[in-house]
Amino acid sequence: MIRVEDVHKYFGTLHVLRGITLDVSKAEALVIIGPSGSGKSTLLRCINLLVEPDAGRVFIDGVHVNRHDINREWVRQQVGMVFQSFNLFTHLTALENVMLGPIRVKGMSREQAEDKAKQLLARVGLAAKANAYPAELSGGQQQRVAIARALAMDPKAMLFDEPTSALDPEYIREVLDVMTALARDGMTMIVVTHEMGFASNVARRIVFMDGGVILEEGHPQEIFEHPKQERTRAFVSKILR
């Protein structure tokens, strides 16, 4: 479904992605772990073209997307993204946040978009908060609205960039529950996270990235209990306090 082929990215002289090759199958939930600065976020952004790869190819559902003549807006409708800092539109209510994409980008009518938005908010458990503004919601609630907002575009796949890293501990569970349900429903997803419990439950494969390369990949059990590489072991031991 998503294929990344030998992708490189430079920020100035900093070689952030050094030849990443990755395949994500349909309905697969892939988890990427790694220390900060390893390029995980950059990799995600190369997939929905918020960042342009300097070399290599990115395929979404068989289509080569990092071309000069590609319609970026179309690409971003194929994959939805959820950010670490939620990035909800502060001047709109939760409902309006979810409705905005379908109305402006997909050209849906207001009524249709509203129905869809209400359904999605119910799906993430926030039907009651439809008319609340982001400032009135807790972090966990905001992130769930952000997930609903991304889902409103009917994406083929979802990218999660450390979705729970900015949350207070008591709110992490509710967001992970939504993500787990999403994975069970068959959504293709790539999740960058430190939440090992989630990774073990949901992912078939875990990828460990460090210094811009993929050092190791395998089953959650393999990675956590029998990591092959030294750096993998060091990293895993640090987060599995």
């Binding site: 929905n48 918020l50 807006e73 179309w74 690409v75 971003r76 409708q77 939805g80 993204m81 950010f83 800092s85 939620f86 990035n87 909800l88 539109f89 502060t90 001047h91 905005l100 994409g101 402006r104 980008v105 503004y133 982001p134 400032a135 009135e136 952000a146 907002r149 991304a150 575009m153």
Partner: protein, 282 residues
């Protein structure tokens, strides 16, 4: 003693916030009245001199009208231009942003009265082929003042745009919005709300700047008042203390106008306030 106890009781029993606004207004009015009375006593003039107002009243009205007319030209012009320039200023294309920077540095670097004087000289002569009338010089100078304020307003709008957290732009892009769409639906609504208070200050400055047009002979409030001075010392029965009455009255009018404008914009900002957005530093 009584007042102290009364205020303490107020604070304990009532929501202090609502009181604050009203008390501030009442306070201001009382304070201003006391100040004006003291001023008149100290400087030995009267704001209510009947003879003065009989002679000056007409000019006073015309002057205020002209000032308001100029304000009506300059404010919208400068706001639209300033917004447009602010937008260009944050473009990633230097071809768009550099000329605007130079424009802003120029107009912010020289005194507005210099702009008024030379605009009236150059503008009138350059456009004389097409338009005529002594009003031409004045209108050109007014437009020049609009250009001047636009430079300041472009900085206000620019700060507004840049105050919208970058993550929101990213989120809009991630949803598949085109650049223009994310500008209109996400950045603009928030940037405009953030810009309102500093904009109110700038509008107040525009109102005060219209007085500069008197330097080229305009008959705005300041101009007619200056003309009246010639009259004061020529006519019999004129008192030199009329100067004080006149300028105090003129000051009050300007004060009323600037206060009105800033309050309106503060009110708008409160009405459309978005919680979770930081203020603008200009």
């Amino acid at each position: 003693m009584a007042t102290a106890e009364a205020s303490v009781a107020e604070v304990r029993g009532q929501p202090v916030v609502r009181h604050a606004a009203l008390t501030r207004v009442i306070e201001a009015v009382i304070g201003a009245s006391i100040f004006l009375i003291l001023l008149q006593v100290l400087l030995n003039f009267s704001l209510l001199d009947a003879e003065f107002w009989r002679r000056y009243g007409g000019s006073f009205e015309t002057g205020i009208g002209t000032t308001l007319r100029f304000v009506g030209i300059i404010l919208p012009l400068s706001a639209v231009l300033g917004f447009f320039l602010g937008w260009l200023r944050i473009s990633r294309f230097r071809t768009l942003s550099w000329p605007v920077s130079v424009y802003v540095d120029f107009f912010r670097g020289i005194p507005p009265i210099v702009i008024v004087i030379y605009a009236s000289i150059f503008g009138a002569a350059l456009l004389q082929a097409r338009f005529t009338g002594k009003d031409l010089a004045w209108n050109v100078a007014a437009v020049a003042l609009a250009l001047h304020s636009a430079a300041y307003q472009s900085e206000i709008f620019r700060a507004g745009f840049q105050s919208v957290p970058r993550g929101q732009l990213e989120a809009a892009q991630a949803l598949g919005m085109r650049p223009t769409q994310s500008m209109f639906n996400v950045v603009l609504p928030q940037a405009l709300r953030l810009s309102l208070p500093p904009l109110g200050n700038e509008f107040a400055v525009v109102i005060k700047d219209t007085s500069l047009l008197a330097a080229i002979g305009t008959l705005d409030l300041f101009g007619v008042s200056q003309d009246f001075i010639q009259a004061v010392f020529l006519q019999p029965g004129a008192s030199v203390y009329w100067l004080l009455t006149m300028w105090t009255a003129v000051a009050l009018v300007y004060f009323a106008m600037t206060t009105a404008v800033t309050q309106v914009l503060l009110f708008l900002e409160r009405k459309f306030h978005v919680r979770g957005l930081e203020g603008v530093s200009v």
